[in-house]
């Protein structure tokens, strides 16, 4: 009998690890640019089951987590920085200094609504109005209203339903005490609705939705201008139609943005996008359906041709009618 050479090897690959191993063996491990060969060896040393691919995946996830931490840190820093504006106590929230407005808007780009809420809370703790460009104090209810959780707000005479009486709002006191005035509340909440829900480390580089934050005053100024712009000529309309085309390279890039899993994360928490256009094959095109005689009756329903019920009913009805007579 010949001496056996170790345990017999199974031909079937049933377990998941071995299946993965087979797949991994086929694919060459993607070389990571930031890691030299000796560094790789150092990490892999003492871990017999690991290969360069595992290391790569581990590194990628670590980088993702690091990017997330960095971004959170950045938001915290911004929150603290923003507490310092407006610098002058006489600044007007309705027409802030352009410089401060710019700082304010650029800092808020990376915020989520919850971060913004934290920022407002932080301002209130410093006895400031919740709107970032307002130097006034937030309002405090009088001492006798301290115990009440809700506040009744009455409108002007004739503002009620049907133009009679007064309109009335019941507002939680803590909501009311966030701001110095209703105008500031409006301004602050107008900014809040413009912030993007997804965290900054998941946003795409070209996601411009939250990049351009407008102050309420700017938005109002814009809206007043718009009606004039609306009466456009046919030329403008056709120009607009041209704009809608997808063939425009910018547009197509926007459409093609699809986050892949192995994109490299940048230090500032943004995803670097690499666009790969999908190649279109010129396959056979389908022809339009043609009319056939059996289609006149509605045809078959998934292969089943219903019996003609229509012929039976009338005779039965007739019979009934005759019986009655």
């Amino acid at each position: 009998m010949a001496p056996s050479q170790g345990p017999p090897k199974s031909i079937l690959k049933t377990s998941l690890p071995s299946a993965y191993a087979a797949v991994n063996a086929e694919q060459p491990a993607p070389h990571h640019s930031s890691l030299s060969q000796e560094e790789q060896d150092r990490y892999l040393q003492g871990r017999p089951g690991a290969n360069a691919r595992h290391l790569d995946i581990a590194l990628q996830h670590a980088q993702q987590i690091q990017a997330q931490k960095d971004a959170e840190e950045m938001i915290l820093d911004r929150t603290v920085e923003l507490l310092a504006i407006p610098a002058s106590s006489s600044a007007d929230p309705a027409s802030p200094s352009p410089e401060e407005a710019r700082t304010f808007k650029s800092a808020l780009v990376s915020f989520r609504p919850t971060d913004y809420d934290n920022y407002i809370m932080e301002r209130n703790y410093e006895d400031l109005c919740g709107y970032g460009l307002c130097p006034r104090k937030n309002r405090k209810e009088s001492a006798n209203a301290r115990g009440q959780t809700f506040h009744f707000k009455y409108g002007v005479k004739g503002s009620g339903p049907g133009g009679r009486g007064r309109s009335m709002d019941i507002v939680p006191r803590e909501k009311l005490e966030k701001w110095c005035s209703d105008e500031c509340a409006e301004r602050a909440l107008f900014i809040r609705v413009q912030l993007a829900e997804e965290p900054v480390w998941e946003r795409r580089a070209s996601d411009t939705r939250s990049m351009r934050i407008l102050l309420l005053e700017e938005a109002r100024a814009k809206r007043q201008k718009q009606p004039r712009a609306e009466s456009s000529s046919a030329v403008e309309v056709t120009a607009d139609m041209e704009n809608l085309k997808i063939q425009d390279p910018d547009r197509s890039r926007e459409l093609a943005l699809e986050r892949g899993d192995n994109t490299v994360i940048h230090r500032d928490g943004r995803v670097d996008i690499q666009i790969n256009e999908k190649e279109h094959g010129s396959g056979p095109s389908a022809s339009a359906p043609q009319w056939r005689p059996e289609d006149a009756l509605g045809g078959s329903i998934e292969g089943h041709v219903p019996k003609e019920l229509g012929n039976k009913r009338p005779t039965q009805d007739e019979g009934d009618l005759l019986d009655q007579i």
């Binding site: 920022y119 809370m121 932080e122």
Partner: protein, 236 residues
């Protein structure tokens, strides 16, 4: 009329003083349970002495005076020293002087106060800081508090420490294992640490004991059948 108001405010001050005294005592018990050097006098400070020491002329507590520093005992240092390894043959204990600060602000504790606290901890080179406030602190402040690299900052509310939860009869005794004891335990049961039952760092008892990720605690509870029953938890 004036006398009545004075009487009422006196009552109020008394009430606040008593509450704060209980918190104060729990803080000392906590420090002693964690293994810091605390004298018996400090542990058994009476309300009258406490009032005498920390009350302002109005009878209200003066929190700015209330600061505690404590050094770890040898036993604690041993528990916090990692096992010697090839890369680190002589490990240093990962614990040091603790600093406890009571925040005097009665509402709205935000990043401003926490930054001041962080500054003190960093400046005086304390290993651990405990920040005690009367109200909850803002989310950004929480993040800021945990953000000093190389130092540990914890936060408690005064009302969390009003009673010492570990003295309750339904809370079993938690004992922190040293790295050596942990290694022995894992070897005895032939386990990896990830195979142990777990416990969160945010668990009230874990917060009380200042446990850190990766440590193992032994929980000893009474058992009707066995007398004593020990189980282990891996802190994550």
């Amino acid at each position: 009329m004036d006398g009545e108001i004075a009487q009422r405010s006196g009552d109020e001050a008394d009430k606040e003083m008593t509450r704060l005294w209980r918190t104060w005592r729990t803080v000392y018990e906590m420090l002693s349970d964690r293994g810091y050097e605390v004298s018996d006098d400090e542990l058994q400070l009476s309300l009258i002495d406490f009032k005498h020491k920390y009350a302002d002329p109005m009878g209200y507590p003066d929190r700015t005076k209330m600061k505690i520093q404590a050094r770890p005992t040898e036993e604690m240092k041993m528990k916090y020293t990692a096992l010697p390894s090839k890369s680190n043959p002589t490990p240093q204990p990962d614990c040091g002087t603790i600093y406890v600060d009571f925040c005097p602000d009665s509402s709205g504790v935000g990043t401003k106060q926490v930054r001041a606290f962080n500054h003190i901890v960093d400046e005086s080179n304390f290993h651990t800081g405990v920040f005690i406030t009367q109200t909850p602190i803002s989310p950004s402040a929480v993040r800021l508090l945990s953000g000093i690299p190389g130092r540990i900052c914890e936060h408690f509310q005064e009302q969390d420490l009003l009673v010492n939860i570990t003295r309750h009869e339904l809370v079993p005794k938690h004992v922190l294992l040293s790295p050596e004891e942990k290694a022995r335990l894992l070897e005895r049961y032939r386990l990896k640490e990830s195979q142990l039952p777990r416990m969160q760092v945010s668990d009230p008892v874990a917060r009380y004991l200042g446990l850190r990720r990766g440590q193992v605690v032994k929980i000893i509870r009474k058992s009707e059948t066995a007398g004593r029953y020990a189980s282990y938890r891996w802190v994550i």
